[in-house]
């Protein structure tokens, strides 16, 4: 290729640059959507994007945090990797919360950050930050491209690492000179990852052991986590559970992996889980954990966690097995493969009549409950009504706090990949941009974003994107003029000293929405809830709905901090 000598500012026209090579590599990975925000160090990349416009849909968010949470929502609901572009320095550091969130919740993301030119890396140049240093502990893997020739291989490896095994975020840091460099011929794309071979197929011996344990168990229980969803193993899980009539509970992130309304389902377990589910964990003699990581919000005090149970744990990440809970039957495998292997076994199970009776009794005696006065809007009843109006079929994204727990409790999910929430990191500001990503990934689906008034204000600037793309996302604000969960803990554990948890100067959310050109509604009275919801969900476009709910309402039942799963408080009215 004959190339004129070009200075840095020369406009690239026909030649291929590193940036073009990046775009081509993304096309090769079947990327169709990018969430991002331009800046100095990624100008060459955005220029290549402009020149190859037809290849991608680029969603311009209004803050990098919006990009990454949108990518998380997209990845969670579509199963495809979420791709993010950001510039160097502040662009990259604005992504940190989202990268950590994706790491904690195992979401496949590939994040491309610009970097200052190689020649000035390490000199504290303008908009330089040590992206490699900062992102090392919060990524599954990270790369800084040193030579242009590495780029196609690194992009390929990044997508491979992000999406296989236990998924996770991968950062690729690209110095500006690399994306500007003129390409010379073909580069080798062969992946070289000798230290990375996730185990997908289960050890048959362990499956036999698990089958034997099921045969012997008098009080078996299945715990399903997000691993079932990542493996797309809901059908196999359903078959397994129903063949042997095994009672099942899920984690917060495992909601939807098994139909919540099925008779075998005990609902969610954990800090704000159902009493029946937590008691089942306490009393079971065999706990089959499929793709959950025994997080502390699930287990409560480890000392009292499943004290009578033999624990079996199916997980694709061997490091999760035995990390928090002693495990007798470890199965390192993809959940789908493990379930398939289990389904091939003939298991003679004893009669579990009494066990089912106990669980059924707990379900009937100790259902979820809440106060139902008429003078204010009950947040729990509001979620139930959203469930009714949307027939339980919406994709639901939540922020973090009380409304998140109420959504988990009352928006019963019967289908997988429709629940988007920040579990491990508990990131306020996550829910609304995640809904944008979910809606872009599934344009035909109804996407409801249930948020609190506090969390929504952390990322509400993304209303611009909703307007820009006319995304019919329905934002339901459970507005209690407080940081509800903080207020609840102060109420219960800090003698009602509401330190900095009451929001006295909220915006008018209707006017806020309208200022972005989006329909806003406000509901103050319980009797208007039903008709407003009908109206919102039949409206063909985005809506921000401000529901004034009771501030004093607390989330129950609850495992208090340091307590065991059998010591729930607020179990009955």
């Amino acid at each position: 290729m004959k190339v004129e000598a070009k200075t840095e500012m020369t406009v690239v026209q026909d030649v291929e640059t590193g940036a073009d090579l990046l775009i081509q590599s993304l096309i090769d990975e079947n990327v169709d959507t990018i969430f991002g925000y331009p800046g100095g160090a990624v100008l060459p990349i955005y220029d290549a994007l402009y020149r190859k416009k037809a290849a991608f849909d680029h969603i311009l968010t209004r803050h990098e945090q919006g990009s990454i949470h949108a990518a998380e929502g997209y990845a969670r609901t579509t199963g495809k990797p979420g791709v993010v572009f950001a510039t160097s320095g502040p662009g990259a550091t604005n992504l940190i919360t989202g990268i950590t969130d994706a790491m904690m919740d195992s979401l496949p993301l590939v994040i491309f950050t610009g970097q200052v030119s190689s020649s000035v890396v390490g000199t504290d140049a303008f908009q330089e930050s040590d992206v490699m240093g900062i992102t090392t502990p919060i990524t599954k893997y990270n790369y800084q491209i040193k030579e242009l020739s590495e780029l196609p291989r690194i992009v390929k490896e990044a997508f491979h690492i992000a999406t296989t095994g236990r998924p996770g975020p991968v950062v690729v840091d690209i110095p500006k000179n690399i994306s500007q460099e003129i390409t010379t011929g073909e580069y080798d794309q062969t992946m070289h990852l000798p230290g990375y071979q996730p185990t997908e197929l289960p050890n048959p011996l362990q499956i036999t052991k698990l089958a034997e344990a099921i045969e012997q168990a008098k009080r078996p229980l299945v715990l399903a986590g997000a691993g079932v969803l990542f493996a797309d193993a809901s059908a196999e899980l359903k078959q397994f559970v129903e063949r042997y009539e095994l009672p099942i509970t899920t984690t917060l992130l495992g909601l939807g992996s098994y139909p919540g309304s099925s008779p075998l389902s005990l609902g969610m377990a954990g800090m704000h889980g159902n009493y029946a589910a937590n008691m089942a964990i306490y009393e079971c003699d065999l706990l089959i954990n499929i793709g959950a990581r025994f997080d502390d919000r699930l287990t409560g005090s480890l000392q009292h966690f499943a004290p009578q149970a033999k624990v079996a744990h199916i997980d694709i990440d061997p490091a999760e097995i035995g990390k928090n809970v002693e495990t007798v039957i470890p199965v390192v495998a993809d959940a789908k493969e493990a379930l398939k292997a289990l389904l091939k076994k003939t298991i003679q199970i004893p009669e579990h009549g009494r066990w089912h009776e106990t669980l059924q009794n707990n379900k009937e005696q100790y259902p979820l409950w809440y106060e139902q006065p008429d003078q204010y809007i009950s947040p729990q009843r509001l979620i139930q009504q959203i469930h009714r109006v949307t027939k339980g079929e919406a994709i639901v994204t939540t922020d973090v706090g009380q409304h998140q727990m109420w959504a988990a409790q009352y928006y019963t999910l019967d289908n997988p990949h429709r629940w988007v929430t920040s579990g491990g990191l508990g990131t306020m500001g996550f829910g609304f941009p995640a809904a944008i990503g979910a809606q872009i990934g599934s344009p035909e689906e109804l996407v409801v974003s249930i948020v609190g008034d506090a969390g929504f204000q952390m990322t509400c600037q993304e209303l611009s994107v909703v307007k820009d793309r006319n995304l019919p996302v329905k934002v339901i604000i459970l507005n209690n003029e407080a940081l509800g969960m903080v207020r609840q803990w102060q109420d219960k554990f800090y003698d009602k000293r509401y330190s900095e948890s009451i929001l006295t100067a909220n915006p008018d959310f209707v006017k806020l929405a309208e200022s972005y050109g989006i329909r806003g509604v406000r509901v103050d009275r319980e009797e208007d809830v039903a008709t407003t919801l009908e109206d919102i969900f039949s409206y063909d476009g985005p809506v921000v709905a401000d529901f004034r709910v009771c501030q004093q309402e607390n989330v129950y039942p609850m495992i208090a901090p340091g307590k065991g799963s059998h010591e729930m408080i607020g179990v009955k009215k």
Partner: protein
């Protein structure tokens, strides 16, 4: 309990940072880490000496190391026949008479004096950490001006003792 763990790793930039960061985050108590070239180009060998309280923590350590993308192999070699060596450089105060006295102390340790100046001398000692500890303790009264240790490097001996099957073992392996 003290364990010696070795790992072979891909020699990529940031690998040491990623591993030490993980160990720090997960609160593993590291006594020493060494890293250097191995017999294969592009592959480095790391040796960790760690203090762990129980088997569960030890298992977590090896699993978390194995989980790293750049880590090729992890072995806990503590209970096997191994060769383990550390090198230390010790600068002690010593002139005149003291020099020959120090020479007498270090010779059973097969240590050697590698630098001498007017008021001090530098000793090089190689061996297991306990031996290095012992020599340092003996030299301390003379006044140690400077001390540097490399940390342990170790691998398996060429020949391992044959496996002994316990006669009363219920589950012979």
């Amino acid at each position: 309990m003290k364990r010696i763990i070795t790992a072979t790793v891909q020699n990529r930039s940031g690998v040491l940072n990623r591993i030490t960061g993980m160990l720090n985050k997960r609160q593993f108590n590291i006594e020493s880490i060494t890293v250097g070239a191995s017999e294969t180009e592009g592959v480095s060998k790391m040796t960790f000496v760690v203090e762990v309280n129980d088997d569960q923590k030890l298992e977590q350590l090896t699993k978390q190391l194995n989980k790293q993308i750049d880590v090729l192999k992890v072995s806990d070699i503590t209970d096997q026949a191994i060769v383990a060596r550390e090198l230390a450089l010790v600068k002690v105060v010593g002139s005149g008479q003291l020099r020959s006295e120090i020479q007498g102390i270090i010779s059973p340790f097969r240590a050697s004096i590698i630098d001498v100046s007017k008021d001090n001398l530098t000793i090089q000692v190689t061996g297991k950490p306990e031996k290095v500890d012992a020599l340092i303790a003996l030299l301390r009264p003379y006044g140690i001006k400077e001390l540097a240790r490399t940390g342990v490097i170790a691998f398996l001996r060429g020949q391992q003792p044959s496996q002994v099957t316990e006669i009363n073992s219920v589950f012979p392996m």
